[in-house]
């Protein structure tokens, strides 16, 4: 039992320790798990990046191989990881099973422990109950026995010690009757006297009856109540007799019966007289009551014997025997009635003198609990042994407490375990999901990259043969062709060009998608770019009779730093769209500083819709930038109020009077490959990615793009872009800048006054803008009369008059009048501004001899300059000078320079050397990278080096790298020597390459080259590159 306790306690303590252990272990595991996950993630990412870079980087086989290796390595790692993961998972499952089993064991042991405790308790209570009963029974019996012993002393005192006896049957019967309350358990008391055979006759005579035998009585003791004593036989001759002489009324029938003749009784009597103590018979059925009883027998002695008297002495001193009949059954019953919980306990009393065959003295055979307790009873007779068996009536109840507590414990433990297990499981699942999603993401990215790569490759691959096609078509055009053939070729050429531009667009989109689009930052002239764009579209617009105009605000600096190509692309895209969808009216490009526009919002009220370039209504330009974030920020000035003069915020609007964009299509206008409806692409061509590309480009220029479009009125696209100011001092430097531009030849018109007659202010403003660019002072009037008065009365001499076609055509008589009147004074040159040649030709049947010169719009400064030059006879040497400029300058730059040409191809080498020699340079040629290195050792003998890139053994990049290393070492030495002459320590190296690509350029710069020139040399490019190193002075 104590062992069980110890085990139970151990388990409890173990449980208390186990729970925190579990927690700690799970936390550690979680942390470790997270770390592991993180590392794995990083690994994946880096792997992915490398992979992506490899994919987009170049086509070098080695890189591919590397990537393949890395990819494979990554995959195997991942496989290991998955394997490991599943291993861990099965391990967890096993752990979970073990956990469950463990707790089942714990809870069942707890159950056993508790139920055994309960049984133990029950047993203890039974033992105490049983012992208590036994003791009480014993006490009760002893009390009765003592009474009988007292009676025996009474008899010896009053019967034997007195002569004549003071007691006869009658007295005895009465006495016993009256003292029966003292012996509630004895049903009757009788006294038998010892009679020796020699005294028998005398005794029989004295008593008046013969001594009778008991055997028959014993054989059928319960036959009837009134059996006749007379039927008993007289006792046969014995050595001695013990006939009953006194008996209680209840057992009067035993008088005269010889107790010694009964077998049981004889034994009893003999033992009683030998021991001098009360002696019990074996239980038997009582005569009348038919209950189990015993007879207690005491010997009555003649004299008082010492306690150590021998049996013989006792036998000798024996006078008689007193017997009492005990009703054991009722004794026990009465006793049990006095005690509590008599119902729950079953009591059996046995005489176990004969061990093998115990005699039941009390109790039924009612089935009870199997477990019983035995208490020994001592009734004072050492010969007889009695036992009391107690058992519970009910079977032991289910140990509910133990069941509840153990089952509860198990449930709680299993629940906690399951929560842990489920959490871990969930973690595994989410980890799996994560991995799966990473995989998917990677695949999606790869697919995206592959798509872009595919587009780029395909575009590139198409472009190369297309260049061949276009080149051949160009050549074909120069051959002798008839009109039809020329038409065919022109169509083919047009289609080819369209295809190339489309491919370029797709390539751009691919570049934007793969994030490879990079903007340049070079100085450029915004106005020149717009002139180019105008030229591009002028033919188309003239054909359609659509007026095309550009206006750039004076506030916009002449020189900007940014990416002119991309800027041009945006404007071309927008204008291209406008041209496509405009059949009448105008297309008007305006460029302002954002600050100007913002101020105009504040100051100017809404201008009337009539006040447009062509008179057609347009969509309100303001609404096109409603959505711009920069405008909505903190008041009207927003973020543009910054005083920084470095950044130039431009706002560019392209306004047309075309069909407009249907409202339902307006939301997806910037989505790639989206067109309003499929018929558009059939009618107008194009891929529908122009706007999407434009949006991206604008975004890259830190700008925003927006539009407003009203169907059948027109659309206005507006975008902002941020450039850096390229002119050091914009305001003052402007006029000077214009002068420096040779192609405009503006200085020739300096000081000229011009008059523009135009009823529409906006159109007049455009004309003035272009004229002002030529440094011509401009006056604006709205009709011919005003103009005439200005010419005749004005202070300044007006030498040029520009008249809108519309004004000119309105009334030929007024026009004629105007012409005639102007002729009176110093006749100014007349120019008519027309939209398209055809429209004017029809109406210009004018008889006036100095027919005004017709200028077809769109106006461009350069075109205006040429026309004016021609009309006014100003010298036109500017052009020829310009063509010669680069080669002359090259001579200037290169004369006397020592230049090393490195090329393995002898033809190339000779040609390059020849070209450089032509410009006066001193040329040395070598044919390999190694020779170049040996020639180019600092301090350098050469002023520059032209290096072929692709050479056997050592290519241009490698050679340059080596040279730069040598230079680096030399420069360290030089700095130690504190020799200030650094110019000899670094030679400019220019790459010569046949195929000029962005990648090549980057590679050039990376390996330490200073730039590249195409092969064979182009004078202009050569000049540009060389001028960077050789100062013009």
């Amino acid at each position: 039992m104590s062992l069980i306790h110890v085990v139970g306690f151990g388990l409890k303590v173990g449980h208390l320790l186990w729970v925190p252990c579990c927690l700690i272990v799970s936390f550690i595991y979680l942390n470790w798990f997270n770390c592991n996950l993180g590392i794995n993630h990083n690994h994946n990412c880096s792997n992915n990046n490398k992979w992506k870079m490899g994919f987009l980087g170049d086509y070098d086989g080695k890189v591919w191989l590397n990537n393949w290796w890395e990819k494979n390595l990554g995959n195997t790692c991942k496989q290991y990881y998955y394997k490991y993961n599943s291993l861990r998972r099965s391990w967890w499952r096993k752990l979970w099973h073990a956990y469950v089993v463990f707790w089942i064991v714990i809870s069942s042991s707890r159950f056993l422990h508790m139920s055994s405790e309960a049984t133990e308790k029950r047993k203890e209570s039974l033992v105490s109950l049983c012992d208590e009963r036994a003791r009480m029974l014993q006490d009760q019996f002893n009390v009765s026995m003592n009474h009988i012993q007292a009676m025996s002393i009474l008899i010896s005192t009053f019967h034997h010690a007195m002569d004549p006896s003071a007691i006869d049957q009658k007295t005895f019967a009465r006495y016993t009757e009256r003292t029966a309350f003292e012996r509630p358990l004895t049903s009757g008391v009788a006294y038998a006297v010892r009679v020796l055979h020699s005294e028998r006759e005398q005794f029989e005579k004295q008593q008046g009856w013969t001594i009778k035998r008991m055997d028959t009585l014993e054989q059928n003791p319960v036959q009837e109540d009134d059996f006749a004593l007379e039927a008993l036989e007289p006792s046969p001759i014995q050595e001695e007799y013990a006939p009953v002489i006194f008996a209680q009324e209840t057992i009067k029938h035993v008088i005269s019966v010889d107790v010694l003749s009964g077998k049981e009784d004889r034994q009893n009597v003999l033992r009683a007289r030998e021991s001098g103590k009360g002696v019990l018979t074996a239980p038997f059925r009582l005569l009348k009551t038919n209950r189990l009883g015993v007879i207690l027998t005491f010997a009555v002695y003649k004299k008082e014997l010492p306690s150590n008297a021998t049996p013989d002495e006792r036998i000798q001193a024996t006078d008689g025997y007193l017997g009492g009949v005990f009703d054991i059954e009722s004794l026990v019953e009465k006793l049990l009635q006095q005690l509590a919980s008599k119902q729950s306990v079953i009591v059996n009393v046995y005489d176990t003198t004969n061990h093998t065959d115990p005699i039941a003295m009390y109790g039924s055979d009612v089935l009870g609990d199997e477990f019983y307790h035995v208490s020994t009873l001592n009734f004072g007779d050492p010969f007889r042994k009695h036992e009391m068996h107690c058992r519970f009536k009910q079977k032991p109840p289910w140990p509910w407490e133990a069941i509840h507590s153990s089952v509860g414990m198990l449930v709680i433990a299993v629940l906690i375990g399951y929560i842990l297990y489920a959490t871990v499981n969930r973690m595994f699942i989410s980890e799996d999901n994560y991995n799966e999603q990473m995989e998917l993401k990677k695949r999606a990215q790869a697919a995206d990259v592959a798509k872009s790569q595919f587009l780029a490759t395909v575009s590139h691959e198409i472009r190369t043969p297309m260049n061949g096609v276009l080149g051949m078509l160009n050549m074909l055009m120069d051959t002798d062709l008839d009109v039809t053939q020329q038409e065919y070729v022109r169509t083919a050429q047009g289609s080819g060009k369209a295809l190339v531009s489309l491919i370029n667009e797709v390539l751009d989109q691919a570049k934007i998608d793969s994030g490879k689009l990079e903007l340049e930052a070079v100085v450029f002239d915004l106005r020149a770019i717009l002139d180019d764009v105008l030229l591009l579209f002028s033919e188309k617009s003239q054909g359609k009779g659509v007026e095309l105009a550009v206006y750039v605000s004076d506030e916009v600096p002449e020189q900007l730093i940014g990416d002119p190509g991309r800027f041009r692309q945006i404007i071309t895209n927008l204008m291209g769209n406008s041209i496509k969808f405009t059949e009448k009216g105008h297309i008007f490009v305006t460029i302002h500083l954002v600050e100007e526009v913002v101020h105009s919002i504040e100051v100017e009220p809404q201008s009337t819709s009539k006040d447009t370039l062509s008179g057609y209504p347009v969509a309100d330009i303001r609404r096109s930038w409603e959505g711009f974030k920069a405008f909505s920020q903190e008041g009207p000035l927003g973020s543009f109020s910054s005083p920084s003069s470095e950044l130039v915020n431009l706002i560019v609007s392209v306004e047309d009077t075309g069909v407009g964009i249907p409202l339902e299509a307006q939301s997806r206008i910037f989505t790639p490959f989206m067109q309003v409806d499929p018929s558009i692409s059939r009618k107008h061509g194009g891929t529908g990615i122009g706007l999407s590309i434009s949006k991206c480009l604008v975004g890259r220029m830190n700008g925003e793009i927006g539009f407003v479009s009203i169907p059948n009125i027109g659309s206005t696209f507006t975008f902002t872009a941020v450039f850096t100011n390229g002119s050091p001092n914009s305001k003052e430097g402007r006029s000077q800048q214009i002068n420096n531009q040779p192609h405009l030849a503006s200085s020739e018109f300096h000081g000229t006054n011009a008059l523009v007659i135009d009823p529409r202010p906006i159109r007049a403003k455009v004309s003035r803008y272009h004229l002002q660019r030529l440094d011509i002072r401009v006056e604006l009037v709205s009709d011919l009369d005003q103009g005439l008065s200005l010419i005749t009365n004005g202070n300044s001499a007006i030498s040029i008059v520009f008249i809108e076609q519309e004004v000119w055509d309105r009334d030929s008589s007024i026009s004629l009048h105007f012409v005639n009147n102007t002729r009176k004074v110093d006749p100014p040159k007349l120019f008519i501004l027309v939209n398209s040649n055809s429209s004017f030709r029809a109406s210009s049947v004018n008889s006036g001899d100095p027919f005004p010169v017709v200028i077809t719009k769109p106006l461009k400064a350069s075109m205006l300059a040429v026309t004016l030059q021609r009309a006014m006879g100003v010298g036109n040497r500017g052009n020829t000078r310009n063509v010669e400029l680069p080669s002359l300058s090259l001579q200037h730059l290169l004369r006397g320079r020592r230049i090393l040409v490195v090329d393995d191809n002898s033809v190339n080498r000779t040609v390059a050397a020849g070209a450089l020699k032509k410009y006066g340079a001193d040329v040395v040629c070598v044919s390999s990278g190694k020779d170049a290195i040996s020639k180019l050792k600092p301090p350098h003998q050469f002023d520059a080096c032209f290096m072929d890139i692709q050479m056997p053994e050592m290519d241009g990049f490698e050679a340059t790298r080596r040279i730069r290393e040598l230079e680096h070492m030399a420069s360290i030495e030089a700095s130690m020597d504190a020799d200030g002459n650094n110019s000899k320590l670094r030679v400019p190296i220019l790459a010569m390459t046949a195929d000029v690509m962005q990648a090549t350029n980057e590679e050039c710069l990376k390996s330490g080259m200073d730039g590249y020139v195409s092969k064979p040399f182009e004078a202009e490019q050569l000049y540009r590159e060389v001028s960077r190193f050789f100062p013009t002075s």
């Binding site: 190369t464 051959t479 033809v907 040609v911 020699k917 692709q950 046949a994």
Partner: protein, 151 residues
């Protein structure tokens, strides 16, 4: 023959060559490089080109005959050839080279062989034409005339 006639012939021939794409602007540039200091510059360069061409064509033929074909090797030769033809302004040869390189990149043996044949043909055509041109120039010089330049 009359010098003037020869000069006219030369002009016509050269114009035809330009028109037919045998030569391009680069050849004119080359001619401009020729001056008193290097009177035979063009002829020198073109001779060099002929030598180079023959060597390279031979190399290409050999490289394409190998099994398996080392396309990188072939491509290197074609690249060389493209460079030199660009330098002298042999436009048609250069164009064929460009196509040739594409075939090399895609490892198209059939295309390569066809291109090689084409190159050989173009080369011989060009050579004949140029030789004729030089012969005319020589004759003009021998007749004491100056070689007209082409604008």
């Amino acid at each position: 023959m009359d010098v003037l006639q020869l000069q006219r012939k030369l002009r016509e021939h050269q114009a035809a060559m330009l028109r037919e794409g045998f030569l391009d602007d680069q050849f004119s540039q080359l001619q401009k490089l020729q001056d008193e200091s290097s009177p035979d510059f063009v002829i020198e360069v073109v001779k060099m080109f002929f030598d180079d061409s023959e060597k390279l064509l031979h190399n290409m033929t050999r490289a394409l005959g190998q099994v398996p074909v080392d396309f990188k090797q072939v491509d290197a030769h074609v690249h060389q050839y493209k460079g030199s033809s660009a330098s002298v302004g042999a436009a048609r040869v250069k164009n064929v080279c460009a196509t040739f390189r594409n075939f090399c990149e895609t490892q198209n043996l059939e295309g390569c062989v066809r291109c090689l044949q084409q190159l050989q043909q173009e080369y011989s055509l060009l050579k004949n034409n140029l030789q004729y041109l030089f012969r005319l120039q020589e004759e003009i010089q021998a007749a004491g005339g100056s070689i007209p330049t082409i604008e």
